[in-house]
Amino acid sequence: MPSLVCTGADVAAARLIQLTYWYPNSAVPALSEVSLDFSEGITLVAGPSGGGKSTLLRVLNGLVPHFHGGRISGRADVAGADIIRTPTRNLARTVGFVFQDPELQAVYDVVEREVAFGLENIGVPAAAMRDRVDEALGEAGVMHLARRRVRTLSGGERQRVAIASVLAMQPRLVVLDEPTSQLDDEGASLVISSAIRMAQAGHSVVISEHRLERLTQVAENVVVVDRGTAEVRQPSAWRPIRLTMDATIGRSPGAEAWSLSGVTAGPGGRPVLQDVNLAGRRGELVALSGPNGGGKTTLLRVIAGSLEPLAGKVERRPGRIAYLPQNPTALLHRPTVRSEVRLTLDRAREPDDPDQMLATLGLLAMAERYPRDLSSGERQRAALAAVLPGRPDLVLLDEPTRGMDPFARGALIKVVAALRDAGSAIVLATHDAELRDALADRVVTVCGGMVTEQPAMRT
């Protein structure tokens, strides 16, 4: 039996002993003999996509196994309560959980009501609720949003409202599952600041993140989860894997592949882009950056021809378009990952072997798996594999590295660089500065419907 690994010196907020967990109908455990203590301060959970990070986090509030089913062995306690025997809803007072997708957490339409939702559920008297809601809004730095409609908030604001909702319940342990994966730099920075403030206020914070720079400086411990096993590292002795760039520098761009002249566009007749003039060439990679809601996705849709402009002219050279939407699961509907890739190749009448793309993106081992059973990072790669095979003329990628670990990002860079060097015109919208700096020939900032060109910083 492996010895218990402590992630902090103080009394444990949560403790896992020899914990092994199998998802329903799975012969391979998602977590294998994990023994961990979670104490005060920030514990950073890192590791490759599909390694078991989200499963580990879901054990801490009992969603695994109570919500997801499956088999579990070993012991898991949080603040003295047996997680395996206590339903998630009863652990809610002790463990707060912030999910990855800010769109799918809100129950109410108004911020302060949303923050009060958990308190209503656990039967807090109305007289005590007001103070706790205000306190939580203040702690999460969103007091000014109290009366706002949730649907009008940016991703970063929504995620901080989700944090406030958790804080209102005054949990001992706060768990955040990749809370910034869908946020722009500013939104991510605010969420990470909130996490740091929570730790300073005495909560134990367990956070799974791919934006590690700030967190490694303040984390008490790092837990690396890979292939279902967990290993504790000291932050001082652990360095996150940096993205290495060995993509070849692109050749000189060719003829113009697409152009927008005086384009005003937006969904539902509401202009999101105003009078945009922009063009891209074959063999050139244009990176779109800018805040959430700035118009990057609208710009990609206009270039793709999915959204007709309200004014102005869009021109594209004829040819195949490979488009990765913001929500990669929008694409996945075939029974296996391999059949997703084959479908695209068959439609494009290209003779390539699907396994070539799967191997490049590190998906060969999952080729026969159902795409929607994969982790979020793996799904993202499966969706990329489904759109990128063959020789697309125009490649449009909306946040392609969302939820990806450094290895997967490295593989993506190789694929995209190869397409660019083969003459594809590429436009990618991304918050990922490393990806942008590694690949972009040109960087265009899209903000408030306007575009401005920045100098590229190819590493």
């Binding site: 919500f67 998630t88 463990v95 997708d101 209503e120 319940m169 996945l332």
Partner: protein, 275 residues
């Protein structure tokens, strides 16, 4: 705005419009419901509703005109040999269809404040404690409706660019399957989020139990009086019924039932205009 007040007013409108067969009273209720909505929610926000109601109304009138070959005032006739359509077409059938359309329109406008003027939490707060959990689950699931629409657009665009083209019903599986699966996954994630925040762990309390103000009491009193007054007027024989068949006659209007119906206009003065 208090959901219980809205419920009282809506119930009174619905009660009268379903209780009477007289299209004159139905029309007054329709006008009361429409004016109240227009004053509070604004015509702009009602546009889709108006189009929907107009479509349903037209279908109802046409269907009745085409299928009910009754009445004495014949407008024209088609040979009986034409299946379903053959027979006489009468003014009475047209009037009966019109009366039905007024009923449907009044009922829809009377219920519309729940979606146009109230937030889901307003309705949930007004529910009795025993229904609070069910109401919360329903309100949460309503959040997913807009997500389904967005997902449909996203999936259709993505699949088109991947080479999909709509060729017959079977081809739509490539759009419908991902939309259904993505929506199901969305609802599972929302359920996870609710469970993680203690949903179902104890008897629910409410952040803000809405209080009834003087204006609310006035609307409730007017609505109750309208319903009760209309029943009383009917019992006294002052609210005469109306039948389109066998021959058309103008509906008669009594003063007392008319006054009862006019009480339904009170919210026009009491309910604030929504921003």
């Amino acid at each position: 705005m208090n959901a219980r007040t809205v419920a009282a007013w809506s119930a009174a409108c619905l009660f009268i419009v379903l209780f009477t067969t007289n299209p004159a009273y139905k029309l007054i209720v329709l006008l009361a419901a429409f004016t109240t909505l227009a004053a509070s929610a604004g015509i702009r926000r009602m546009r889709r509703l108006l189009v929907g109601v107009a479509c349903i109304g037209i279908v109802d009138v046409v269907l009745n005109f085409v299928s009910a070959h009754l009445g004495r005032t014949i407008l024209f006739s088609l040979p009986d040999s034409i299946p379903a359509l053959g027979g006489v077409y009468t003014l009475e059938a047209l009037a009966s269809g019109l009366s039905g359309a007024i009923t449907i329109a009044a009922a829809i406008f009377a219920a519309a404040p729940f979606s146009l003027m109230l937030q889901p939490h307003d309705v949930m707060d007004a529910l009795p404690r025993a229904l609070s959990r069910t109401g919360t689950a329903i309100a949460a699931s309503m959040n997913l409706v807009s997500m389904v629409g967005t997902t449909f657009t996203e999936v259709t665009e993505a699949q088109r660019l991947r080479g999909w083209r709509p060729r017959g019903p079977a081809s739509w599986a490539e759009v419908v399957v991902p939309v259904v699966l993505t929506s199901a996954e969305g609802s599972i994630q929302l359920a996870e989020s609710m469970e993680a925040r203690g949903f179902g762990s104890a008897t629910r309390t409410t952040f803000q139990r809405p209080k009834l103000g003087n204006g609310d009491w006035l609307v409730i009193a007017a609505s109750s009086l309208a319903a009760a007054g209309f029943v009383a007027a009917s019992a006294m024989g002052w609210a005469s019924d109306w039948y389109a068949y066998p021959s058309l006659s103008a509906p008669r209007i009594g003063l007392a039932p008319l006054a009862a119906c006019l009480l339904l206009f009170v919210p026009v003065l009491m309910w604030p205009r929504r921003a």
